[in-house]
Symmetry: C2
Subunit: 189 residues, 2 copies
DNA sequence: TGCCCAGAAGCAACGGATTTGCTTTAAGGT
DNA sequence: ACCTTAAAGCAAATCCGTTGCTTCTGGGCA
């Protein structure tokens, strides 16, 4: 969704903005574990019940904020070829996601997400970025795999290891995944 | 670890066992959302502060219990060949993990897991199962990929989709992942 | 333009969860 | 059999989360 579908300018929008801002400020000040709903409410100039009514609980609020932070802020760079584009993107993706902050956001996004929509949004961000790269490559006349194939062979392994097996995960591994994908079957599905 | 490394027979071990049992019983009786630390403590015959001191909070306790439930209860079946073994295992893995209960346990396991050790344990369970299959195949003289390769190409895509994109995930997809892995490069790494 | 209405926020009180200092118990080692 | 130490029990105080009710805001309609 996410949970907010309000017109800009209204009171709801102001409340949402100030709450989100409060979360970010306080996270920087007291750390992730020091966050509580009453604390956030106070900083945002709102009563706790407002937050509980709109977001349900702290986990869901943090999930919303986390998804916002996981949104890519730029389209993937153009390096002139599919392999270099994908490789560069995968390295950057890993860099951002595998950092302590990135992992925390991913966890938050997954955790306070009863219906899975926030997780779906994260996945969509990655898929969109990949799609841009693939479309660009197709425009150059290159043979490209499908988005789903790239998700399975590059995005999923990286994300799985970030969440479950952080050890031994580095840029070389990301490069290897891309290389393996492209050498194996450039037009897979 | 998990969080308990106590000798069997001691008081600590008894407390842990009765608390874990209480969690399972109560989860069946009142449902996942009805669980509270005081409720569990009462059923287990301990005081709430005992649970808070040992596990920290409800999330971490549930994480420990979830990991226990995610432990495979049998070694993978032997179907006489690598491809059929892996395919059957992947299908069963998907079946168990993608079910509502499986997803809930995975979420719980990740949720109350500050240091990632419980997530690591889950991943190790899968890797161990895969390793059994690969070792068996190697014993037959078959060419086998490495465990890490199977994790990247089969386990990770399944888990990623379970967590982030449940739609369009079925046994056929699991079979496809295995087939693709083995046809592409039977000795990958 | 000004009146209404629905949705959202504020307020306040209650119930229960969490924390914490101190005491007591029990396992294991000497 | 004693002693040490880690863990459990106990109880009080605090704080979080929930809820019914009131008040306010802003957009639609006459």
């Amino acid at each position: 969704m996410s949970r907010q579908m309000v017109r800009p300018g209204g009171r709801s929008a102001r409340v949402q903005a100030s709450v989100h801002t409060a979360v970010r400020e306080l996270e920087a000040e007291v750390g992730r574990d020091g966050l509580t709903v009453p604390l956030i409410a106070q900083r945002a100039g709102v009563t706790p019940s407002t937050i509980y009514r709109r977001w349900g609980d702290l986990a869901q609020l943090l999930s919303d904020v986390a998804v916002e932070r996981l949104r890519p802020d730029a389209t993937p760079q153009d390096h002139g070829g599919l392999e270099s584009d994908l490789t560069a993107w995968a390295e950057q993706f890993l860099d951002e996601m595998a950092s302590p902050a990135g992992r925390a956001y991913i966890r938050d996004a997954l955790l306070g997400d009863p219906d899975g929509s926030n997780a779906g949004q994260c996945s969509a961000y990655a898929a969109d970025q990949v799609d841009v790269i693939l479309t660009r490559a197709a425009g150059r006349g290159e043979d490209t795999p499908g988005v789903e194939t790239v998700v399975d062979h590059v995005v999923a392994p990286l994300m799985y290891r970030i969440l479950f097996r952080p050890a031994g995960l580095d840029a070389a591994h990301a490069r290897g995944l891309v290389a393996e994908l492209l050498e194996g079957d450039a037009a897979g599905k």
